[in-house]
Symmetry: C2
Subunit: 130 residues, 2 copies
Amino acid sequence: MENTLIDQLKFNGDGLIPAIVQEQSSSRVLMMAWMNRASLEKTVATGKTHFWSRSRQKFWMKGESSGHTQTVRGIAMDCDGDTLLIQVDQVGAACHEGYQSCFFRSLTDQGGLQITEPRLVDPDHVYGKK
Amino acid sequence: MENTLIDQLKFNGDGLIPAIVQEQSSSRVLMMAWMNRASLEKTVATGKTHFWSRSRQKFWMKGESSGHTQTVRGIAMDCDGDTLLIQVDQVGAACHEGYQSCFFRSLTDQGGLQITEPRLVDPDHVYGKK
């Protein structure tokens, strides 16, 4: 099929593209992670977000350990074709530290950092103690 | 100052960090661009978003050509310290193609792409014909 999304994307030199994940119901930006072509194809095919972990060099489904999966509601690409914006329904907390969003810390006017939301779950209960 | 945002960030091997830009009033994700340390410092100091263009290898202020500037309302960092989320007030269209958001195209159920919003301005009028 011509004009498909995947064929128009520009993956970087490592074959990856950043994917911003936004909760459709609240419009909160939950996280940003990287996809390769296979993880994007799997995301489209299954309706659950899949990514590529650069640190672990591993294909993973969001929620595979925690149960905090993301059901895909929409996939948009940007004008340059080098970033994705994925709308999801999020089960539980998106962040592995137990917050709804990975962006739970903001810069203060004094140049420090403050936590801007409550922790929803204890990571030790979700992932086990390390 | 200890515990500042910039000192906790992980810039990549090129000294860059991705910055997601979200319109505070509408919660729309407008664009994603890259910052180096200098452009982030300039963003904090001036309250207007500044980035690093990888294609042009150039420091730039959003809106320097178009007038479509972004006034910063908040800066958050993610759990890993390798992505920024910046809340802004956007003047005009964020996208250089004349759309409010750079994410104006979405994947359809049939695997094609559709434009999901109206074009606000004619890019030729903003940037001049090329």
